[in-house]
């Protein structure tokens, strides 16, 4: 079902911080728009950034990947100021998460590498994938409880990197192209989904073997996945236009369809209250879903084709990168959602 692991003796690029950091082109004040809900704020990021993914950084800062500018963006929501860290020639970052070391960890499709940005010094360090996995189209990453980062590549791979030893192992998805979102459950299991393959997969963290779990709807285009506090996996179905829940202990699937003629569910995230957040490109909106009441709450985008491709947050805040508009929307959930 999977190919033998490839042990990567990593070639590490350690760049001096002074060479990587650069000031933002502009510092945008928080936007005030009369048509936004009271618990929503908007922040501009440098034009052309196309912020793809977002993550909470230290001290209330917000990180985002500036995919078209090859940068890690650092937004201070207190002032609206943005600072950028250049990730290297050819960079096209996709995902960003905060690691247990407090650093930003980035899946960079342009560099074909896992990239770390030190939050104190802006030093950029990268771990390229082995040569046999060139053009992996790196997508998303997650840390497990042992401090190992697991990642996907849409060209058909998934892998792991232990930052302590720099050991990297990469495997091919049993069904080929498509691995996209990846998540860790509270009990420490790693799951990823495949967009082109339309499946969920559970990864054996010891052997690296991926066990395919087929959702009930064929060709649904599972794009992202997130775990709730009970270990249920929430899956955004792009083609299927539904939000689905898989319960590993029973194997049960349930799904819900947002309103609208042609929903296209892209991102999914579960906040610390077990409220599920999803974006619907068909409606150009973000939706929160309460599994207890099965009710949806709608957050319209701040403009046409906002294209929120990922969602992440911290207690009391949900971050929505509007990649099509070069803005980041922040929803306060402690003010009611």
């Amino acid at each position: 079902m999977f190919r033998p692991a490839f042990l990567c003796f990593t070639l590490i690029a350690l760049l001096p911080a002074a060479a990587c950091a650069q000031p933002a082109e502009r510092q945008a004040a928080p936007a005030a728009r009369g048509d936004l809900a009271a618990n929503v704020r908007l922040f501009d990021v440098p034009a052309g950034s196309r912020p793809h993914d977002v993550a909470p950084g230290p001290n209330g800062l917000i990180w985002y990947t500036g995919q078209r500018r090859g940068t890690l963006g650092i937004l201070d929501p207190g002032t609206g100021a943005v600072r950028e860290v250049r990730l290297g020639e050819g960079s096209a970052p996709h995902g960003v998460i905060q690691g247990p070391d407090g650093a930003a960890w980035i899946t960079d499709g342009g560099l074909n590498a896992i990239v770390r940005v030190d939050p104190a010094t802006d030093a950029v360090r990268s771990w390229p994938l082995p040569a046999e996995f060139a053009d992996a189209n790196l997508n998303t990453a997650v840390f497990d409880r042992d401090g190992v980062i697991w990642f996907t590549g849409q060209a058909g791979i998934y892998g792991r990197l232990d930052p302590r030893t720099s050991e990297m192992r990469v495997w091919r998805d049993p069904e080929g192209r498509g691995p996209y979102g990846i998540a860790a459950t509270p009990s420490g299991e790693i799951y990823y989904v495949s967009l082109a393959g339309s499946h969920l997969a559970r990864v054996d963290r010891e052997s690296g073997a991926a066990t395919i779990i087929e959702p009930p709807t064929a060709g649904q285009g599972a794009r992202r996945v997130w775990a709730d506090s009970r270990g249920n996996l929430w899956v955004s179905e792009w083609n299927g236009g539904r939000l689905s829940r898989y319960t590993p202990s029973t194997g049960e699937w349930r799904s819900w369809r947002p309103e609208g003629e042609r929903p296209r569910v892209y991102a999914v995230y579960v906040d610390d209250r077990d409220i599920v957040w999803a974006t619907d490109f068909g409606a150009n909106a973000t939706l929160s879903f309460d599994p207890a009441t099965e009710r949806w709450t709608r957050y319209p985008a701040s403009g046409e084709n906002a294209q929120v491709r990922q969602i992440l947050g911290r207690s009391g805040r949900v971050y929505l990168p509007e990649s099509g508009l070069d803005r980041i929307m922040v929803v306060r959930t402690d003010a009611g959602s």
Binding site: T10, L11, I12, N137, G178, L195, A196, S198, F281
Partner: protein, 130 residues
């Protein structure tokens, strides 16, 4: 020690690999396809994925007409307006999908002028070879 071994190995591979990708437009085109298109689009006839239709014979092909693929209303509108994919149309679409076909479900952020040229040369060369 491991890093030194890796560096030496990579240098040896590079020294024996012949012309670089930059010097081989065919390899460069394939690389761009692998990086930007492969994840969603196959090249084999009839092989759509849930994320995108095949690119087989794309230049000159009717727009939004691959059997079995569920095209967006935006692409169907484009088909009514233009009929077939010409090289120029593909170039404009891939440059900025959202601007050229607002509402498209191809969630791709676009590609530079130079990359599009190489990619289209490569796709057309593949069509001519068959």
């Amino acid at each position: 020690m491991k890093t030194l071994f890796a560096a030496a190995s990579l240098a040896a591979v590079a020294a024996t690999a012949g012309p670089s990708i930059a010097q081989r437009p065919d390899l460069r085109g394939q690389q761009i396809y692998r990086r930007a298109c492969y994840s969603c689009h196959a090249l084999e006839p009839g092989r759509n994925t849930p994320a995108g239709p095949t690119l087989h014979d794309i230049v000159g092909r009717p727009i939004a007409a691959q059997p079995g693929f569920n095209y967006s209303p935006a692409l169907r509108r484009l088909a009514r307006r233009h009929g077939r994919w010409t090289r120029a149309l593909i170039d404009r679409f891939v440059a900025a999908p959202d601007s050229f076909a607002p509402g498209t479900e191809m969630t791709f952020l676009g590609m530079s002028d130079a990359q599009r040229g190489v990619l289209l040369d490569w796709l057309q060369a593949r069509q001519r070879r068959r």
